[in-house]
Symmetry: C2
Subunit: 359 residues, 2 copies
DNA sequence: CGACAGCGTGAGAGCGCTCCCACCGGATCT
DNA sequence: AGATCCGGTGGGAGCGCTCTCACGCTGTCG
């Protein structure tokens, strides 16, 4: 009477990967024991453990992440949020370094890095929903001016979050890592004053970015400490072209400037360009400093004296902190600030400029 | 008799996100109908659909990815595999562009990008296991010399995979996108020959990388077509320093060289350095070409003539192709090759070198 | 006027895993 | 001696979702 036709299987008989059940059968134990053996082997006899281990190898067993995640409410993945719409910004080696650092922190764990980029403001709410949706266990946000809303929104969700770069708004519970931009700005002022320059100016970054504001603050403090006047300040947008225009304004305002601090190497490049166009030599007429120790600082026509910051360590730290925060929520750690260092190159040397060497 | 004590809840009563069940209740429909309404709304009455839509907004419902993934066997995420141990390589803007392009292709879908970097050979098998484990629906591999084993291993797993850059071994079923490196090499030869240079040499990339081999092949073909001898070939490792050393060997071998093609801009920088150190002017004594149209090509002491390639488009294409392959498996598409273009700058201009302008 | 599509719907099974609970037997305590 | 504990184990429920299936219900055709 068993004439019922062979009903098509719900799932095509594709040779799918072995389940925990298969593993348990192969190892001759129960599913529970197999599960315990897989996860650290607490309360498992050596024999059972060995049997499971063998079966894992034999079957090529790999736990199903979705099933596990469904019950543990852990996804074993974290998000790197890059709230920048612009390809140009992505091109910044900064991001590569951040990614490398986080990846480094994630080694030895089975946590995966999910990349979240919001290219438009529209994406931004989508990204936020994604984060809120419990798809990741935590997030690292690369903080720029636009990150303000992120900081607060994320803090409200209770999702473990670390910011790289101090968020603009820190009036609530937020943990971050950053470099000592104030110290870096001060270093620049000290150095230029130290080599005898007296009429100093700066091309600062956008006034709505914490890094830019901090560098400017340090710069002013350094000048004051050296007993020098504050000097002209122009703002640019961290781009080479923008800085070139800013430098032209600077030169028009005060033609006797003998030292300029650009708040980034890319901007210093623009300043260099503008100086050359105006017939000034570097460092002969004007000593020039950048910031970031970007690759271009070394390859520039006149290699740039600049400020270097331990970005990889910072990124690694961010990753480690996030992992800890996920493991033990509520232990809001203090912000970590990394100190900066001066890198001396030709653009502030007292010797004549080297850029005309092959003339 | 119902004196059983209030057993502690298995799950702490944390206010967790609403489930499909909650949604269904709120909308006054069954879980099935709610599910259908969420997923495209096939076979759902307008009223039911509207009710569900309202409930979604009201409850802030977000589907649980893990649960969905468990039954659909889809993860809605793809992996970007970067088989490079070196931070330096990561710093290459290339990766930023690739990431940007893929992200662009993924917009409008809810597919997430998972980053997989293998920094050691040990990681490599770990990564492979991860990919094999069904944690992602597909993978994009940035192909370099080391990717050989990847290609074959991945092809064997049947996981939809697209390579960016032709893998070394294409004797099996593999789909990839690439730029026309042969054409680019030929372009370089044509250009240098076209401006009247006759004693041409090249600093090629590593002989185990397809891009390097292809560029060299195109270069040789271009020379032959221009009726010029093959000239000296030295290999370097795509780094500035390595290229500088290679260039010194070149100069020692044949001091009368009047044109050099470096297979990357970074290498061209090294060559430029070596040339200057040897007292040669560029382009006066020696015309110099790079490849990639890297940012440094523009900012170099002598801006570099170089070859540009549509990398963003290529990355977008890779993303799109992968999405298609996931959607309709087995439709192994043909490789897509993007053509390259010449970008002329001062390093091959016939006019006197501009780098000494501020002397 | 009965048969039969076909659409919208709800019940229910089950994806692979973790974790609570009950159980068992041997060691330890009173 | 019995009571108690505790390491090791297996049974079973259930995480939130999709998907198959069966069930009305309306409309159309023979």
């Amino acid at each position: 009477m068993k004439t019922s036709p062979p009903r098509p299987l719900r799932q095509a008989p594709v040779r799918s990967s072995p389940t925990l059940e298969d593993l348990a059968v192969a190892a001759g134990v129960s599913r529970s024991t197999a599960s315990r053996a897989i996860n650290g082997g607490d309360r498992v006899s050596p024999e059972a453990q060995a049997a499971v281990d063998r079966a894992v190898v034999a079957l090529g067993y790999i736990p199903n992440r979705a099933a596990r995640s469904l019950v543990t409410r852990r996804t074993s993945s974290i998000a790197l949020v890059i709230p920048e719409p612009d390809v140009r910004v992505m091109m910044d080696p900064f991001f590569a370094v951040v990614i490398t650092g986080i990846t480094e922190a994630l080694r030895e764990t089975d946590v995966q890095l999910v990349l979240l980029m919001s290219r438009t403001d529209d994406d931004s709410s989508r990204t936020l929903r994604y984060l809120r949706g419990g798809h990741v266990d935590g997030a690292i946000v690369v903080s720029h001016h636009k990150a303000d809303s992120w900081a607060r929104s994320l803090a409200e969700t209770g999702l473990p979050t670390i910011f790289i770069g101090r968020p603009w708004d820190t009036t609530f519970d937020v943990t971050y890592v950053d470099t000592d931009n104030v110290g870096g700005g001060r270093l620049a002022a000290q150095h230029l004053a130290g080599i005898g320059r007296r009429r100093l100016a700066t091309v600062a970054g956008p006034a709505d970015m914490t890094a830019a504001v901090d560098r400017l603050r340090g710069w002013k403090a350094g000048l004051a400490e050296a007993g020098l006047p504050e000097g002209p300040v122009v703002h640019a947008d961290f781009t080479t072209d923008g800085a070139a225009a800013a430098a032209r304004r600077l030169l028009a305002e005060d033609p006797d400037i003998d030292g300029i601090f650009a708040a980034s190497d890319l901007m210093a490049l623009g300043v260099l360009e503008a100086l050359h166009a105006a017939g000034r030599t570097v460092p002969g007429d004007v000593a020039l400093m950048g910031y970031d120790n970007h690759a271009v600082a070394e390859t520039a026509a006149t290699p740039l004296t600049t400020i270097t910051q331990p970005m990889v360590e910072m990124a690694v730290k961010a990753g480690t902190m996030l992992l800890e925060e996920i493991e033990a929520p509520g232990s809001h750690p203090e912000p970590v600030i990394y100190s900066t260092e001066l890198v001396e190159r030709a653009s502030t040397s007292v010797a004549p400029t080297a850029s005309a060497a092959n003339a």
